[in-house]
Amino acid sequence: MIDLLFYVLMSIGLCFVFLGCVGLLRMPDVYCRLQASTKCVTLGTGSILLAALAKTGFSAIGMKALISLVFLFLNSPTSAHALAKAADISGIKFWEKPGDEKIYPAKPRPTVDSDIE
């Protein structure tokens, strides 16, 4: 039973990590790449850490896996947010499908030069 849980969680995690990396290759601009890779890789890593916790039970490996699980779920969205905000400030445009109408008015972005004297 425990073995079955271990294999299921591990294969789910590896599949999602692989999908996240494929998304890193296929998406057209920075923001979409960040979306695809952050979501898939975070859930995949969480699933693999849970698999380690299920395999070893209450031991040193399992507890450290639990700590790094909490740490990862707190930090990974935050670093994604920081990267996206930095890319927005540094002036990278959003990708649009050719032929679509503009959906949103672009917000005024401060350029890099204004921060530097």
């Binding site: 999602f16 999908l19 494929v22 998304g23 296929r26 998406m27 057209p28 601009d29 923001y31 979409c32 960040l34 979306q35 695809a36 952050t38 979501k39 898939c40 975070t42 859930l43 031991s59 040193a60 507890m63 450290k64 639990l66 700590i67 779920f73 707190l74 969205p77 935050t78 994604a80 947010h81 996206a84 905000k85 927005d88 959003f94 990708w95 649009e96 499908k97 679509d100 959906i103 949103y104 917000k107």
Partner: protein
């Protein structure tokens, strides 16, 4: 009171981290947790008044289940978007209103939106969240809030305020 709770939390994490059972481990844990509490105990974002209200924990567990469901759904939606040819995406930016005041609640809401299907938080100000959406359904703020975070915000408002 706040600092006592931080001390207990840190000592628990120390025991989980080292996972040994001799006397020296207890002494070192107590000393280092005391040191960190004296160094940084006041700044730790914690709600000491809310700690012993059981109702909030029950609502928070409900929030965790809603969030888990959203996250798994997000991954399957994203897998569909990645694997189908000529990715079916229409990225754009929408605004939704933010009514939470407590910093911990705002943090958890922003991170939950980042892991929810097709969206992530691009910027945060006093009362609005700027959200990048990979397939824009609507540009109206109220409808967008209904579609993106559902009832997450009201649940978090019950937990943290």
């Amino acid at each position: 009171m706040n600092q006592l709770l931080v001390f207990i939390l840190l000592f628990g994490i120390w025991k989980l981290m080292t996972w040994s059972n001799d006397l020296g481990s207890y002494i070192a844990g107590i000393l280092s947790a005391l040191f960190i509490t004296l160094l940084y105990g006041k700044e730790f974002p914690y709600h000491p008044k809310h700690t012993f209200q059981i109702r909030r924990y029950i609502i928070f567990i409900k929030f965790l289940f809603v969030f888990l469901y959203q996250m798994i759904k997000a991954n399957f939606v994203m897998a569909y978007r990645i694997l189908s040819p000529g990715p079916p995406i229409k990225p754009g930016v929408v605004k939704i209103s933010l009514r939470l005041k407590s910093p911990l609640g705002r943090l958890i809401l922003a991170n939950a939106i980042t892991l929810a299907p097709g969206t992530f938080t691009l910027d945060i100000t006093e009362d609005t969240l700027l959200i990048h959406w990979i397939y824009v359904g609507t540009t109206d703020p109220v409808e967008a809030e209904e579609m993106i975070c559902g009832n997450l915000q009201s649940i978090l408002k019950e937990v943290f305020e």
